[in-house]
Amino acid sequence: MSNSKKYLQEEIIRTSGVNPKKCMRCGKCSATCPAYDEMEYHPHQFVYMVESGNIEPLLESDSLYRCLTCFACVDRCPRSVEPAKLVEAVRLAAIRKQGNNRMTANDVPELIDDETPQQLIVSAFRKYTK
């Protein structure tokens, strides 16, 4: 593994607090994921790809923004791997890069209506913007 790959892997593991080596490859995270069909890379692939250091494809993938953070994979994983926390860490690594914000304040008026709860707007900003 190159040094830059290794550094990225270490960063993801450190910020997520997840140890991907605990995974026993049962796939229960992907079995349980409600956003599975909308994802290019599925929860078990996130775990495996972080473990093997193959993180760049994840950084580029829309899958980062499909994870609903519903914690179903966290609660049901028999190995306590907590895949959602890994997805979150990769997502942060992506949007923390300059110019990588996925949403700006200017986009908001078009995306909301009269009933849109404030909760939705602040949540979306937390997920898409740094």
């Binding site: 956003a35 609903l68 519903c70 709860p117 939705l120």
Partner: protein, 261 residues
Amino acid sequence: MKFSYFPGCTLKNKAKSLDIYARRSAEKLGVTLEEIENWQCCGGVFTTAKDEVATKLSSVRILKDAQKKQQALVTVCSACHNVVKQTNYAMQNDKEFAGKVNRYMSEDEYNGETQIYHYLELLRDVIGYDKIKESVVNPIGKKVAAYYGCLLLRPNAVMRMDDPENPTIIEDLIKALGGEAVIYGYRNECCGGYVRMESPELAGKKSQTVIESAKKAGAEVIVTACPLCKYNLEKSGCDIPVVYLTELLAEALGVKEDTNE
């Protein structure tokens, strides 16, 4: 009985009824909710990354405020509850994180001492469903589907509200209010959440699964504690009413007056 109360921003705007009915019902049941002063938005979602500190400070301020008043903290909105509770758990269990927060906040040290109740837990564990049952004046008399979503129950290691896979806390309340609780498979599945913002189709699909599941089980009304769940369900073609559980409660207790005041 007095509790510190954190309504959150949505309850001051688009989900006013969730807030108002919560206070009125609590008063009726002998509990006063004292709103925390100068609170800030919790941020809507808890960022699980360990190096995220600033995004969690508003929650810590809320928790510290309750601690100063030596009161337990009550929340109603599922999202606020989840964020504040996860933050408190991190203050208790993540020494490095707590250290950073305490160094930044330059006041007395805080290590997660405040006890947090979701409004449902206040009803179940402090007031008691038996007492609520006695106070009911308008029994609901409808088939009600409890919609938990994800934020109230998960991650279970932190939330500890109920069995995350087969919860009963809302169903038991429905029964106490004279309604019939409808059990359906997707009551603890995500509505699609914040993804509504950029992918309404995905959020729509998730919400429709929940709606179909509830309707198949015979639900006449869906009850929730989360403004975003309510919004997502309503925007996804739900043709049965989606109401806040505090509204259901206020109606049953006979304190649901005109709220356009």
